[in-house]
Symmetry: C2
Subunit: 433 residues, 2 copies
């Protein structure tokens, strides 16, 4: 019986896995550089954890099941509810700020179709327990640092905005704050709709307060200075919003990423969840979607009866990043990390070859050899196919005076080395290469 | 509403995650040293993949669910079926031997109770596509290398055996090979049963052929030499079994691990799956169970209509390892990997402090700072709590002549360094520490 991989799920053969690990390593490296600590949670949670946050409507998007005790569970579709649960459980014990990241795998019950994944990985980073523009700027700087780390910083732009700022501006234009949520959802879709479609949808709700025509004029001309000015003239809350966003913007300069950012009034994010500064990272190349988004939220653990915990964070899936580097032709070439391939020129020496392989492995080198006792030429081919940096050959010199021949596979040079000094020789060569 | 972690599932707070990563890093490091390549598969598979291998009885041990297309899936309870599926799909394209490892997370529908995990990680390693005693020995050497790497090699013993060898011996004693499977299952349980219970169970099946009394005598005295001799006198198959196992045993010496192994006739593994050499790693400390097991199997992909693929491999869970290091009091102390904590002695300098933090982060260092503008003493306390290796202090020297004070937190020494040369100074200090 032949059984396929489940629809929308990926197999990671070694060449795929090297690419995944390259990505995960970059996420980890950058997170640690910024002083974040890694956490993880269970692959499934009580179903309630998700319906509590998102309502019953979420259930059809989840893989749900019961155990024999008839408890209801769901494979996690996102990390935030787990983060909320874990932080709520220790809210009073964790030192602030809580700077945490994770690289969870998660599933969504997408309809199986080409290119739509049911399982993916996501880099999540959050700064919790502090409501400070510094945190907003640092989380954006962290996202920027990842794209810099993988050499794509000039291929993306970080669109930054502030919900309270836009809220104050809309208030001035005629849409009061208590009617903002729907307006944000519409504005979030603005760039993906035709002007006609957007106008129709907007006017259906807001025509009497603010015509789509007037709104379009605002959106087209609202640069940072204009929005700050409107906000500063919109009462105490507006002034606070302007102050707060100016502080975020200044900190972006401290973190050296202001030039990678642009103020973008349409970027308001579609989720009611967000309450402050928001951002999205977009590919500069035409036709590509937003790669990631994030922003400030008010109270992570509120729904779990925890103490109030403000936060700012983001999520970035593996698929959008891998798609971007493919689109840009920048997929890295990643070989096996093999340091040494040991070759026997005489099968009588194979046992000795294994001992040498073992010595080098114990010293921390990545070492392999041919399983088949074939000619030296074939063994060299295997070494090359594996991308080995060095080959170590045991032949007549070994039988005669305990010497091996070390070949540098990149430089093509080779020399005889006393077997007893082999490890030092290779370690030194690796250090200089 | 308060929601708990699901029963039997673990949350990994940063301190737990550091320990997991320490373990995963060791598994990865050792696997790569031995020339293995990493792979991964989906978190769930078609349910059929598991029932095909293990029968319908397995279903009650799985978390199963349907998607909206009424396809049946199960969260993976082990990696071997996924490995079989992936190898079968590319069996003719993959160069042999296939040396693969993985660190999958997986779930089993255990009854929730204290200490019984429903989710765990497992290190899997297999050498496929080759039936050679060299592979059997190398897979055992790989397991040994892990325990050596984490400093526990003297706390464990590798019990090695060969099913064909025991089969030949049993044949000589009166139990023909076609009745072996049941005998293996009983012998596998021998050490966990009282002599009386074992005797009763054995005699129920085999009394007429081989009394439990006579078997007990055999098990008690069957050292390697005795088993080899019996096997060599048991016809062609017995001779082949003896030759093969002698080759495995000799290769264990080539890999420098023979001294960590002992021949153990009771170690036959309970699964019908195994067809050749088998092994288990046991803690030497009394009262601890087998930590892991593995062995040779005939045809990994047979059930999937793939071409015949012989293999040898093992699985090692994270829980047994972590339990062992706890029992032995050898849990490593793992701090945040923070290189530098930047301190401002004057809040006017904080913006400059962030710029310095940013420079160091870009150079690959792990850097943090205090979010609150508090006194220098408090900032030092935070740095110490985070285990920072160095603190960099911006004070009067910075305002005056662009110098910072670098304090080595381990040595307690400090010196003034030009801000422009800070990165080099710290990089050099880290290299020497």
């Amino acid at each position: 019986m032949k059984i396929q991989s489940p629809p929308g799920m990926r197999d990671f053969y070694p060449e795929d896995m090297r690419l995944q690990n390259w990505l995960f390593d970059a996420w980890r490296r950058v997170s640690l550089a910024f002083g974040f600590s890694e956490y993880e949670g269970p692959i499934f949670e009580y179903l309630d954890l998700y319906t509590l946050k998102s309502g019953e409507g979420i259930v059809s998007e989840l893989f749900t099941f019961q155990d024999r005790g008839e408890r209801n569970f769901a494979i996690r579709p996102e990390m935030t509810p787990t983060l909320a649960r874990m932080v709520a459980a220790r809210a009073n014990a964790l030192p602030r700020p809580i700077k945490w990241f994770s690289i969870p795998r998660m599933c969504r019950a997408e309809k199986p179709q080409r290119g739509r994944l049911r399982e993916f990985y996501q880099w999540n980073a959050d700064i919790l327990g502090i409501d400070d523009p510094l945190a907003d700027a640092e989380i954006m700087a962290l996202a920027a640092a990842f794209f810099r780390d993988i050499g794509l910083i000039d291929d993306v732009v970080i669109r930054v905005n502030s919900r309270p700022l836009v809220s104050a501006a809309l208030d001035k234009l005629g849409v009061p704050p208590e009617e903002n949520e729907r307006a944000f959802q519409l504005i979030d879709r603005h760039d993906r709709l035709t002007p006609e479609a957007f106008g129709e949808m907007w006017d259906e709700v807001y025509k009497d307060r603010l015509s789509s025509h007037k709104l379009a004029g605002f959106l087209a001309n609202a640069d940072l200075a204009a929005c700050l000015e409107m906000s500063e003239n919109a009462g105490t809350e507006g002034q606070a919003a302007a102050e707060s966003f100016k502080a975020v913007w200044a900190r972006l300069a401290d973190f050296g990423v202001q030039d990678n950012c642009e103020f973008h009034v349409n970027t308001v994010r579609g989720l009611a969840y967000y309450t402050g500064a928001v951002f999205e990272v977009h590919a500069r190349k035409e036709g590509l979607r937003a790669l990631m988004g994030g922003g400030r939220y008010d109270n992570l653990t509120g729904m779990l009866d925890g103490p109030a915990v403000p936060g700012v964070g983001f999520g970035l899936g593996d698929a959008p990043v891998l798609e971007l580097i493919r689109e840009l032709g920048k997929t890295p070439e990643l070989a096996d990390e093999l340091d040494v391939f040991v070759i026997d020129a005489d099968r009588e020496l194979f046992s000795q070859a294994l001992k040498i392989a073992d010595d080098l492995r114990r010293a921390g080198l990545n070492v392999d050899y041919s399983y088949k006792r074939v000619g030296v030429g074939k063994q060299f081919k295997q070494a090359a196919a594996r991308g080995a940096k060095f080959t170590v050959i045991l032949g007549a010199e070994f039988t005669g005076n305990q010497e091996v021949v070390v070949k540098n596979m990149t430089a093509g040079t080779q020399e005889a080395v006393a077997a007893g000094g082999l490890l030092e020789h290779i370690a030194a060569s690796l250090k200089n290469s």
